[in-house]
Symmetry: C2
């Protein structure tokens, strides 16, 4: 039976450790790391995500400011607010909760964030640095996946890694970093246009998937002792829960966990690592802002 890559426990450990570091940092510098979250409109899911980020940020001693802007906010108004946050010394990280209302282009909005406060790692310039293999604030989900592998001493050096999905938030940055000189994996990116997925995943030592398709892969796609990281999060019907739904990943956990050496549960695998890395990026931005490495 596979070892579980436990994101809940790992994130908790990292955040507990960060809490101590933040106390020490505040004591020596007088600075509290600060994160600002912008929500535009009344999407209940967005509100809930930002609440969770606020709760975990404040729990480890960060300052958190939420900006709730009306659905009708114009590009000029949002620019004014982000410019103010870029200048605000209490704020070291700025996140724009997606999705935005249709009249706002998410990339135009994100590119307003000063690169040193871009803790989601999504400005074009930050992505250019990532792509070039330069120091930068890395997007939180791929960073969380790499950290989870590190915590379980799973190296990617020289390994065949298959990344399923090529999204801007997960698959693309993950594949890019894995193929670079810091990780040295031999990476194949599989996506909706790939023929013969199984032929490719069968060769993989590690498979990371963020395809958004419940149970896309099962045991038949993997070789024995593969490491599986599942960033999928899909709601499917269930007669065993009160809500009539349950959350599953992109991998059929039940069958895949019989061939894998290590596998992430869903939920409780990649998910908790994402917010944890957002907090880590914010602390990193705060340290850089006051000249610490």
């Amino acid at each position: 039976m596979a070892i579980l890559l436990d994101g809940n426990r790992t994130a908790e450990k990292i955040e507990l450790n960060m809490k101590t570091q933040i106390e020490a940092f505040e004591e020596t510098t007088g600075i509290k790391p600060g994160l600002a979250g912008i929500v535009v409109g009344d999407n209940p899911a967005s509100a809930s995500y930002v609440r969770r980020k606020r709760r975990r940020a404040t729990a480890i001693g960060m300052f958190f400011e939420q900006l709730k802007l009306p659905e009708s906010t114009s590009m000029a108004e949002i620019k004014e607010r982000i410019d103010a946050l870029n200048r605000d010394e209490r704020v070291h990280g700025i996140l724009v909760q997606l999705p935005l209302p249709d009249h706002l282009d998410p990339h135009d909005v994100i590119d307003l964030i000063a690169i040193e406060k871009d803790v989601d790692g999504l400005t074009t310039l930050n992505q250019g640095l990532l792509y070039r293999g330069k120091p930068c604030l890395m997007p939180c989900t791929p960073k969380g996946i790499l950290r989870l592998l590190d915590e379980y001493d799973i190296t990617t050096e020289g390994k065949n890694v298959v990344v399923v999905g090529r999204s801007e938030l997960v698959g693309r940055p993950l594949a890019t970093v894995l193929a670079g000189r810091s990780r040295n994996a031999t990476v194949t990116v599989v996506h909706t246009r790939t023929r013969e997925v199984r032929q490719i995943t069968k060769l993989a030592d590690i498979v990371a998937i963020a395809a958004g398709k419940a149970h896309m892969l099962d045991a038949s796609h993997f070789k024995q002792d593969v490491v599986i990281v599942d960033a999928g999060m899909n709601s499917i019907p269930s007669d065993k829960t009160k809500s009539g739904k349950r959350l599953v990943g992109d991998v059929d956990f039940e069958s895949a966990s019989k061939v894998a050496s290590h596998i992430t549960p869903v939920p409780g695998g990649v998910g908790p690592m994402t917010v944890c890395m957002l907090l880590e990026n914010t602390f990193e931005a705060a340290r850089l802002a006051c000249g610490e490495p």
Copy 2:
């Protein structure tokens, strides 16, 4: 016997066609597309590369300005010169010939170029756009490789493509664009840390290599009817030439051409396409500068 992917003939055809378009463009707009090439120091190879670019640019009706700066040029001085070129209306493209003297960081210098004049596609912001799949000036060698495939009606859609090498100039941007939504290939990047290269290349429908290692791959690495694009350019000893040397690619052409359906010669394959795409990027920058699509 494989069909040759003839870069000389293809580049000549594209440049002839561009010459006609540039004449028409100049007639309607009064603007001559202009390219500025900066050489720092006395590297004879750099001087020769820039001469070749000048010759081919002027042959199709472009304006070409060469800046020859002394080896001792400081960062402040080069910034002043690039700022002036950024403002110069006669110049639509700026290239910095590499390598630069050791005291100048090539990326710091390249990032001085205005993004709309970055015809080598190497500024961090331009690379961020490329990585994000957005319109941008694409680096010349990968653009030339894709164009060569297009000219021979070789589609990459759904194909297994192996890119050997992960350099900033060739492998990385090529793999990134191929894996994106415009090309939809299933891409694997192979590099110096890859184990079992043959196992991976054997599955490829198309192999593109820029590894800088003479005869790294031979017939035994490929499946029947593979398409081979060889961006390597290595000088090896030869008793058949006056100079005692000859140029070869990263692939053993003699054996590989017996299994391939299509293959680039070296020289005369990818090489001529690179300068051709530099000229195309310059013309594109000129058209964009005066509001044409």
